[in-house]
């Protein structure tokens, strides 16, 4: 019967080993560096690893190495803590057909003893790894994406029909900071669709009931309430707090044009959503790379042609659909994945069960984001939307 020491001795005799000094020269040398694979456990990796290494625990090595290095002729250096597990890993890679594999003699311990550079990544703690487990399983999100969401800041204009589902999903997703601008208190007629608020919240400022609901859902989220109407006077202060994305769920034209102009000047993308009865629309206005709200609608319609939900009604679930689509676009922008709805207006018709799309283009003559802007400071938005033009 072969003991562990004997087995290790035989394996080491079969494989190539490289000492820390030579490995460092290879990694930092002028030639194409070898792929450096750390085969230790997750907790060991989290405590520190060699910069530039990829982490493939030994138990997953066979199944994951081909994705990390499909070319079997390219050199690979594997390491563990002391050079034993990596010796077995090197043999396995040889069996898989990798031609140039060596094991770091003395492992990470010896590397550190030489005073060579190490790196400690920010990592999710076990509790967060469980909470966000379904995100971590998606390659496009993963731990890096989840950490990015936890560092992200989203400002919601309105905690009403659209803001409710958007805020709930963004909070659940672990967006680290959610700002909410809303001056209203919870009214009984809100509860048919504004799922952020409950019957017990009647009469409570929406920013307060929103904060309670969102922090109860996810304590990782820091909710910042602005119990005020967005105006030309406060918009720079509120937007100036450094938001990555704005979710526009306002309920009136003056606020929408104000949000547009301010977002262009602050260079913050806006996820637009609007709803009426059974129909809603959403798009992304990304300054510099797509049209803005004024490119799409240079003028608001006169008030008699633009009834609000309060006047015309809205199916309760409709903001659930559109607000969720807005949250989806926000997450895509924050993570830098997918095809954002820049230059595309999505139209949803709940009765027909149809989703349509139209193209929207940047207007070179746009008074705010065009080549020669004529509006360069805040205007009187109420007057502008009432059709009183200078």
């Amino acid at each position: 019967m072969t003991g562990y020491r004997e087995l290790l001795r035989r394996v080491r005799a079969e494989i190539e080993e490289i000492d820390a000094q030579s490995a460092r020269e290879l990694l930092e040398g002028p030639d194409h560096p070898p792929l450096l694979v750390d085969v230790r456990r997750r907790d060991e990796w989290d405590e520190g690893h060699i910069p530039g290494a990829v982490h493939i625990p030994r138990g997953s090595l066979e199944s994951r190495i081909e994705k990390a290095q499909p070319d079997r002729e390219q050199p690979i250096v594997v390491y563990c803590s002391a050079g034993e597990r990596s010796a077995f890993a090197a043999r396995t890679l040889g069996e898989l057909g990798y031609e140039d594999v060596s094991s770091l003699d003395g492992g990470f311990t010896d590397w550190k003893r030489n005073g060579f550079p190490t790196q400690v990544d920010r990592a999710l703690d076990p509790q967060r790894r469980t909470r966000y487990g379904r995100h971590l399983l998606i390659p496009e999100v993963g731990e890096e994406g989840q950490l990015r969401l936890l560092d992200s800041k989203v400002l919601l204009i309105g905690a009403g029909g659209l803001g409710s589902p958007a805020a709930l999903y963004l909070a659940a997703a672990g967006v680290g900071r959610l700002g909410i601008v809303d001056a209203d208190v919870v009214d009984e007629s809100n509860l048919q669709r504004q799922v952020l608020h409950a019957t017990a919240d009647l009469g409570t400022p929406k920013v307060d009931s929103a904060r309670a609901a969102l922090e109860a859902l996810n304590p990782d989220v820091d909710v910042v309430g602005f119990r005020e109407r967005l105006t030309s006077e406060n918009v720079d202060r509120i937007l100036g707090e450094g938001w990555d994305v704005i979710v526009d769920g306002a309920d009136n034209f003056p606020t929408r044009y104000l949000v547009n102009d301010a977002s262009v000047w602050h260079d913050i993308p806006v996820i637009h959503g609007s709803i009426y009865r059974f129909e809603g629309q959403t798009t992304v206005f990304k300054p510099g790379s797509g049209p803005c709200y004024r490119c799409l609608f240079p003028q608001p319609p006169p008030p008699e042609l633009a009834p609000s939900c309060a006047e015309g009604g809205v199916l309760g679930v409709l903001p659930g659909v559109i607000g969720s689509l807005q949250a989806n676009e926000a997450l895509k922008l924050l993570l830098g994945i997918g095809e954002p709805l820049v230059g595309r207006l999505l139209l949803f018709d709940a009765l027909a069960g149809e989703l349509n799309e139209v193209a929207i283009r940047r207007d070179p003559d746009c008074p705010v984001c065009g080549e020669h802007p004529t509006i360069t400071e805040y205007v009187d938005y109420v007057e502008f939307c009432a059709g009183v033009h200078a």
């Binding site: 029909g161 009426y276 129909e279 042609l305 018709d349």
Partner: protein
């Protein structure tokens, strides 16, 4: 003949119809035909964006953009509602 999508804010003028058939070789002809059949639309259509085949006619020839039989035309005014 083209199918024209009527936005919800203008459906009171089209007797509740979500889609109507209109006739015309250009967007202007089409809108004139619509207004002739639904007179209360007079003065309201200019506030709507017009899309032919998914493209905003402002990026084509405006109201002179030609419309082919079978094109779907979407009228889309701004909607403010969000709460």
């Amino acid at each position: 003949m083209s199918v024209v999508r009527i936005p919800p804010t203008l459906r009171d003028d089209t007797r509740g119809q979500r889609e109507v058939i209109a006739d015309g070789e250009t967007v202007r002809d089409l809108l004139d035909d619509l207004t002739a059949r639904f007179p209360s639309l007079e003065g309201k259509l200019e506030f709507a964006n017009v899309y032919v085949g998914g493209e905003d006619v402002r990026t084509r020839d405006g109201y002179e953009t030609t419309v082919s039989a079978g094109d779907t035309v979407i009228l889309l005014p701004a909607m403010a509602g969000g709460s």
